[in-house]
């Protein structure tokens, strides 16, 4: 009792301190205590003789990444990561689609243990979370970090070793899961023995990215850089703490489980997605983001409030009430950073709508950025006890998870891939029409998926709460909505196949432009 009270006090203090920190930050910005960047700060600071000829004294926010050799240096690492990410995207999508089919055709693949729902779904989650989104995000990080720091990516050999280790670990993990060997915790299914390989791979990413940041040639760190560096430092901590065996037991283990599972989204995939959108939206449009002060609020409020969010998944569970309340409060506080990011990103797009017609990558990325706003708002509201009672343990939660991890993170990363690959390879996309097809397949497929599961989930939740209905009723009523989910998932998977075809084809295409970088946008 005494211990829980002490812990409760400490955690409540963490809320108060976070609140205080945010207040001080906002006060400091309002009173110009924070040094805001001006043209001089943003300008490249080069060592004498190094790259001076490619600076633009008349245009302070310009930098030729191609001629300075920065892109060429990072392109092989980036292309390795993209190839691996898209492989896992296809692999994971097929498993997701199969798992979805099994929910309304239960006997479809029931003959083989490896292909039953419990394993297919788990393989899907691990493939898309650690294979696709993590590596796709790292590809964007490795591409953008050198550009905003105006310096070459360091230790590219170590990075490639990291990629190899990460994919070996992941393949082993997925095989283990398919054959029934798991740690039995959501998002942490890969056996801890295999996690050692993944942790080693992650370490190989951290060092080069820190080294690159240390050697930067700019004074001011652009907002994408904060998100990327923070995410790259947060994720290994989360991953290692959550996977050490024998530390957490019982209810405490469940608490740790949701602390981890939610922070993988909020402190790893979200920084990757938000950072990528923060870079490419203004980059493609050619206009700055709305406000540096809002960037600060958006980043620090995420950093301060997100870490406690996950426990709202244990509402009604045998955990202390104050722990859940604290999590609910932190979840709702997420409105603050999300609104800040939304203003910064959407104002830039909304005042330059012409660019959405011009650039397919921007279409993917700004669609994803809008979905970040919606997913976060929805998440904050879902954390409230009154809403959670109906929606939790239903397919509504699944729809929400995909709004965040798919419509937001995945679409931003797909846009980033369409933007990066021509510049990394010096080739045009062989089938540019397919990019538009991919976009519309994903958007329409996702809309079918999302609305099916959202409506079905609410009906399912209401049926489960109605004591006068047998549980089976809440399952049977879902059938049409689950079929809708498979249809949507099928369309989304088809879109991914188009991306893979384009990517394979660009690998075989001849180089069309060596260092020529003009009119790149038209190519997409």
């Amino acid at each position: 009792m005494q211990i829980t009270e002490t812990l409760g006090l400490l955690l409540a203090l963490s809320f108060v301190i976070s609140l205080l920190a945010l207040t001080i930050l906002i006060w400091a910005i309002a009173n110009k205590q924070v040094h805001t960047p001006d043209a001089d700060d943003a300008r490249t600071i080069f060592e004498p003789g190094e790259g001076a000829d490619i600076d633009y004294p008349d245009k302070p926010h310009h930098f030729d990444t191609a001629r300075s050799g920065i892109d060429a240096n990072s392109s092989s690492v980036v292309m390795w990561l993209i190839a691996a990410a898209v492989f896992w995207l296809i692999y994971g999508s097929l498993h997701g689609l199969a798992a979805s089919l099994e929910l309304h055709l239960p006997d479809l693949m029931s003959g083989t243990a490896q292909m039953t729902f419990g394993r297919m779904r788990t393989v899907h989650l691990n493939s898309v979370a650690y294979g696709w989104a993590s590596q796709g995000g790292l590809a964007a990080v490795c591409w953008i970090i050198p550009r905003i720091f105006r310096t070459n990516l360091r230790m590219t050999g170590l990075l490639k070793l990291g990629i190899v280790l990460w994919n070996i670990g992941l393949a082993a993990g997925v095989l283990a899961i398919a054959n029934g060997w798991t740690d039995g915790l959501e998002w942490l299914e890969i056996p801890w023995q295999i996690d050692i390989i993944l942790a080693a791979g992650a370490a190989c990413f951290v060092a080069p990215l820190i080294a690159t940041a240390k050697n930067r040639n700019v004074h001011h760190i652009y907002v994408s850089g904060w998100y990327f560096l923070a995410g790259v430092l947060w994720f290994p901590v989360l991953f290692i703490v959550a996977n050490i065996p024998g530390v957490h037991h019982g209810v405490e283990q469940a608490t740790m489980n949701w602390w981890y599972a939610h922070n993988v989204l909020g402190l790893w995939l979200t920084p990757l997605g938000v950072g990528t959108a923060y870079y490419f939206i203004p980059k493609i449009i050619g206009k700055p983001v709305y406000s540096y002060a809002l960037s600060l609020v958006g980043f620090w409020a995420l950093a301060l409030f997100y870490s406690q969010v996950g426990i709202h998944h244990l509402i009604g569970g045998p955990v202390p009430t104050w722990l859940v309340t604290l999590s609910v409060v932190h979840s709702v506080m997420m409105f603050v950073p999300v609104i800040a990011v939304a203003i910064n990103q959407h104002v830039t797009v909304a005042s330059n709508l012409w660019a959405l017609k011009e650039s397919m990558p921007l279409r993917f990325i700004s669609f994803g950025a809008v979905m970040y706003t919606l997913a976060s708002f929805q998440g904050s509201i879902e954390a409230l006890r009154s809403v959670n009672t109906i929606t939790h343990f239903t397919h509504y939660t699944v729809a929400h998870a995909h709004l965040g991890a798919y419509a937001f993170v995945s679409l931003v990363l797909m846009g980033a891939i369409y933007q990066i690959v021509p510049r990394a390879t010096g080739k045009y996309w062989p089938f540019p029409r397919m990019i538009a097809w991919h976009f519309w397949l994903n958007v329409i497929g996702f809309a079918v998926y999302f609305f099916s599961l959202t409506i079905g989930g609410i009906l399912q939740g209401l049926a489960q709460l109605d004591a006068t209905k047998p549980f089976a009723d809440s399952v049977i009523l879902l059938k049409p909505y689950l079929e809708g989910r498979s249809l949507g998932g099928g369309l989304m998977t088809l879109g991914h196949v188009l991306l893979a075809i384009n990517l394979i084809a660009i690998g075989f295409a001849k180089k069309t432009r060596e260092t020529e970088t003009e009119n790149m946008v038209a190519a997409e």
Binding site: M1, A12, V16, L19, T23, I26, I29, A30, T36, P37, D38, H61, H62, F63, D64, T65, A66, R147, I148, Y222, S224, Y278, Y279, P282, K283, I284, G286, P288, V289, Y290, S291, Y292, A293, L294, P320, T321, W322, T325, L326, V328, V329, V332, M333, V336, I339, I343, N352, A355, E358, Y428, P432, A467, T468, K469, P470, T517, E518, M520, V521, A522
Partner: protein
């Protein structure tokens, strides 16, 4: 690659993003402040709620300890109240009994001869068998209260019955009751007056004991109950060794054999719906159904149920004893017998039934998923009760003493009434 002309507003490739120096818009401030205030209020509210809960726990502990201190001298007023709640439904408000059905406790030769100690023994174990009181014969069907009343409560009731209703001077204290519980607590009910004769000296003549006749089929039934077969899961694996049930799995011990047989046949036919029970029932022959029904009907076991649904026990008692005519609900006891012990062959005992099971079944009646009651009686009642009423009555019934086991001769007489499904192997 596309033919259309590039937009003139398009930036050149070398533009790098930056952030403008702009103030934070005022709506962001106000939203942040509003959420922060809301968050603090939420946390403060929760912390006071937790404190209240803790205080109540402490108070409860305190109350318990003061009760224990007073326990040496039984509180006869409390005994009177407990008597009204637990005994009066059968034995009458003043213990006068019901001629031919329930023996009197006021001026009773059994109580006078045995005193508070005998009352304690009988209250703890119950009676299942014929007995004579004051020279009149009764079908003994006394429930066992050992599992639902505490030592203190039994001492208060027994002392009240001995001194308040029979002018005996000797009361019994809670520690003495505790000693009796140690010896007799888990014993079967007294086998009628013959069984009582061993407890009370000089008891007037009692009817002969009708010792249970273990039928020839007992081994097969034991096999079904304990191990199951290829197509039938062991009954005890869900319903418990003593047929006491758990959560939404019902208590079976002491339910009327014809009722149990009808439910199994309904599961077979699909007129009562439950996936697990439909599977089990389809694997049973009619003969096995009859044997199992008898097995559980003649089983007597302590209550395994406790109020667990935060139901309002007062409201539950009102519904059980008086009903609520404002919503058209009759008293449960009208059909299910005094104290809910059941009225064979059609009305099952509901006393000591698992509260989750009762509340769930009432909800199933309300929603129409269960619809196998004679004349649709339960459907109307289920629909009239709301969620909190269902929990209230379920919790109240769980607080009652379990029904006594059915008499073996009675069973034999009822055997012919067990509905038999046509066209099934006999």
């Amino acid at each position: 690659m596309t033919d259309k002309k590039p937009d003139p507003r398009r930036p050149d490739e070398n533009f790098e993003p930056f952030e403008e120096t702009r103030r934070i818009p005022w709506p962001v401030y106000s939203i942040a402040i509003a959420l922060a205030i809301w968050g603090v209020i939420m946390l403060v509210q929760t912390s006071t709620a937790v404190q209240v809960a803790d205080k109540t726990q402490e108070e409860v502990a305190k109350e318990d300890s003061t009760k224990l201190a007073q326990a040496a001298a039984p509180d006869l007023d409390a005994g009177k109240t407990l008597f009204a709640d637990n005994c009066a439904t059968c034995h009458g408000d003043a213990g006068e009994g019901v001629a031919g059905a329930f023996p009197p406790l006021h001026g009773s030769d059994v109580v006078k001869l045995g005193g508070a100690k005998a009352v304690t023994h009988i209250g703890m174990r119950g009676i299942g068998g014929k007995l004579n009181v004051n020279g009149d014969g009764y079908e003994g069907q006394m429930p066992a209260f050992g599992s639902v009343l505490s030592d203190t409560e039994i001492s208060e009731i027994a002392s009240y019955v001995a001194t308040g209703l029979n002018d005996d001077a000797k009361t019994i204290s809670a520690p003495e009751v505790a000693d009796i519980r140690k010896v007799a607590g888990d014993k079967d009910p007294f086998d009628g007056g013959a069984g009582l004769a061993g407890l009370i000296n000089d008891l007037p003549a009692q009817p002969n004991s009708e010792a249970a006749d273990q039928g020839a089929d007992s081994e097969r039934v034991a096999q079904l109950v304990g191990q199951g077969t290829d197509t039938v899961w062991a009954c005890a694996s869900c319903h418990g060794d003593k047929g006491e049930g758990i959560e939404t799995v019902p208590r079976l011990a002491g339910l009327p054999a014809p009722y149990l047989a009808k439910q199994l046949h309904d599961f077979q036919r699909g007129t009562r719906f439950n996936d697990s029970m439909a599977y089990v029932a389809k694997g049973l022959s009619d003969r096995e159904i009859g044997e199992l029904a008898n097995y559980y009907a003649s089983m007597s076991s302590p209550s395994g149920a406790k109020p667990a649904l935060q139901g309002d026990l007062k409201r539950g008692a009102q519904l059980a004893k008086q009903g609520d005519w404002s919503i058209g609900v009759p008293a449960c006891f009208t059909c299910h017998g005094p104290s809910g012990v059941g009225v064979a062959p059609n009305f099952p005992g509901i006393a000591a039934q698992q509260p989750s099971y009762v509340a769930h079944q009432l909800a199933m009646w309300a929603g129409g998923a269960r619809h196998n009651s004679p004349l649709g009686l339960m459907a109307g009642i289920g629909k009239a009760l709301n969620d909190s009423d269902r929990r209230a009555v379920a919790d109240y019934l769980a607080s009652l003493a379990p029904m006594p086991a059915m008499d073996k001769t009675e069973l034999a007489a009822m055997e012919s009434n067990i509905p038999v499904r046509e066209g099934v192997d006999q």
